[in-house]
């Protein structure tokens, strides 16, 4: 294995078990155990990912593109270690910072300052580190006196600003950005993109977006995920071109969400 590889995914597959009723769940737990030699299952499997193979080298930026429900979020959750793959191998080396929806974990009653302390701890920073970086975080978020107000008074954009500001101060080796930027105003988006640009000099980026333009701006490679498979991989320009072409032709059908 080359020492430069920082994320390695081999034939990743992820199945979610769908139960028709909680009773089926109990039957599966009691009767479906392989110990009893039973092969009957009481659930349907929904394969969110079927076969994903890719490698990311240190310092590389990988764009991930695909339609809603194609498995992008599941893939990112696996890379972060939030959920485990059903089959296949995932190997990640280094500190991962997910800018997924950090804002969703904010405590609405608490002030921005308190949430920075909690959010930083959730992301794995030590308390002295957070306190040391606090001014810099407040400065990056640029929400002024709102820092001392409860989060419930914030606008959606302000929450995103604060969330991104915390993530930006994590000293992560791998940054995972999942469509988080589209909420901020143009000036803040530019600030974030500049920051990501700067981050790319030393770190590794996984970037999910529906916008081919953003993808080409920030990434050198891309993978296009379709129906749980890697449909196209390689140079970002080629992948986005193929993706754009396909969306013109293919219909938006809901049949792809059904379980087998």
């Amino acid at each position: 294995m080359s020492s430069d590889v920082i994320i390695k995914a081999k034939h990743l597959a992820k199945a979610y078990k769908l139960y028709d009723s909680p009773g089926d769940w109990l039957k599966q737990g009691l009767l479906g155990s392989p110990l009893l030699g039973s092969s009957k299952t009481y659930y349907k499997s929904f394969w969110a990912l079927k076969d994903i193979t890719f490698e990311v080298e240190k310092g590389e930026s990988l764009g991930i593109i695909g339609r809603n429900g194609c498995g992008k979020s599941t893939l990112l959750q696996i890379v972060c270690g939030m959920t485990r793959p059903t089959k296949g191998e995932i190997w990640v080396k280094g500190r991962v910072a997910p800018v997924l929806a950090l804002g969703a974990t904010f405590d609405l009653e608490a002030t921005g300052r308190e949430n920075v302390l909690i959010g930083g701890a959730v992301l794995g920073l030590k308390r002295p580190e957070i306190i040391e970086k606090f001014d810099s975080i407040a400065d990056f978020a640029g929400i002024g006196d709102f820092m001392e107000q409860p989060i419930k008074l914030y606008s959606t954009g302000m929450r995103t600003r604060l969330a991104f500001a915390i993530c930006a101060h994590m000293n992560a080796e791998i940054l995972i950005v999942d469509e988080a930027l589209s909420v901020g105003d143009l000036a803040f988006q530019k600030k974030c993109i500049d920051w990501i640009d700067n981050f790319r000099r030393s770190g590794t980026l996984l970037f999910v977006s529906h916008s081919p333009a953003e993808l080409s701006r920030l990434c050198n490679h891309a993978i296009w995920i379709d129906n749980g498979h890697v449909r196209e991989a390689g140079d970002v320009a080629n992948v986005t071109r193929a993706y754009r072409k396909a969306t013109l032709v293919e219909q938006d059908s809901m049949s792809r969400f059904s379980a087998v």
């Binding site: 078990k17 769940w25 939030m82 485990r84 191998e89 608490a110 959730v122």
Partner: protein, 288 residues
């Protein structure tokens, strides 16, 4: 981080014995590693509990005071202590009941909350790399603060009415350690089960009140026939309640057999609970 076919690969080579030791130490190394996170969330939980009420912390003290006063008034006159001698005062019996209640309420608080614990934190578990196995640690620590208020009150009461404390109260920290271990084990077990099915919560609500009568809270198991008495020890709470009464109310050293049995059950619950939680953890984020 390295997973193959849904199983975590631990770097390095260990034999079975080393893996077992590693597993035994894991809850402690994990808690130490996440100590800042535990403190941050605990702080938030405690503030949340009392924010929005004017009197705040006063409520945490008023509730046990009221129950202590009630027991004194209700059970006061006729009560007898287990050694057959009439209680020297109503306060003695009240303290006797109160000691049992502190332990029992501590247990039920965890038993009621654990099944929904992971649901409460679903947004953390699904959107950040939150160490789910530390949530039971945080909620047990939170409940410890209330139990400590009750215990302090109990000691104060004894000091005021009898003018002195038994030296055995110094053993209280030693009582707390296995009790916390037991509660943590139960919380790991119930929260993992509760993540998969809401029935766990209903089950606890149904059996906890029944359990109260199988636990010597209002009576003493010493008065029961020897066979029934032995059976009572199957309920781990019996041991804990006997020990806390011995060291706080009666001022004598607890029976060493009872202590050994109770510590053994606590340790068993602790590691079985942790083992069960870790085993189910891979599936938890997918179902909540």
């Amino acid at each position: 981080m390295h997973y193959v076919d849904g199983k975590q690969v631990i770097p390095g080579h260990y034999n079975r014995f080393q893996l077992f030791i590693r597993f035994l130490l894991e809850p402690f190394t994990g808690a130490w590693h996440h100590r800042d996170l535990i403190v941050a969330i605990l702080r938030r939980e405690l503030r949340e509990r009392f924010s929005g009420s004017v009197a705040g912390w006063v409520w945490a003290i008023v509730a046990p005071v009221i129950s202590l006063v009630t027991y004194t008034l209700v059970f006061g006159g006729a009560a007898k202590l287990p050694d057959g001698k009439p209680a020297s005062s109503a306060i003695d019996y009240a303290l006797f009941v109160f000691g049992g209640l502190i332990a029992f309420n501590f247990f039920t608080e965890m038993a009621y909350r654990a099944p929904s614990l992971l649901h409460e934190y679903a947004h953390y578990l699904k959107q950040t790399m939150f160490p789910a196995e530390m949530l039971p640690v945080i909620s047990t620590l939170r409940a410890t603060t209330y139990a400590s208020i009750g215990l302090t009150l109990m000691l104060l009461c004894q000091l005021i009415f009898s003018g002195t404390l038994h030296w055995t109260v110094l053993l209280l920290p030693l009582w707390f350690i296995p009790f916390l271990a037991f509660l943590l084990g139960i919380t790991w077990l119930l929260s993992a089960m509760g993540a998969f099915t809401r029935d766990t919560a209903y089950l606890m609500i149904s059996i906890a009140p029944v359990l109260m009568f199988a636990t010597p809270v209002f009576f003493s198991h010493e008065a029961l026939s020897p066979d029934v008495k032995l059976l009572m020890y199957a309920n781990i709470l019996t041991g804990f309640i006997e020990i806390i009464r011995d060291i706080v109310v009666f001022g004598k050293l607890p029976n060493i057999l009872v202590v050994a049995w109770t510590v053994f059950l606590s340790a068993l619950t602790f590691w079985v609970g942790y083992w069960f939680f870790r085993r189910q953890q891979g599936g938890i984020t997918d179902v909540i």
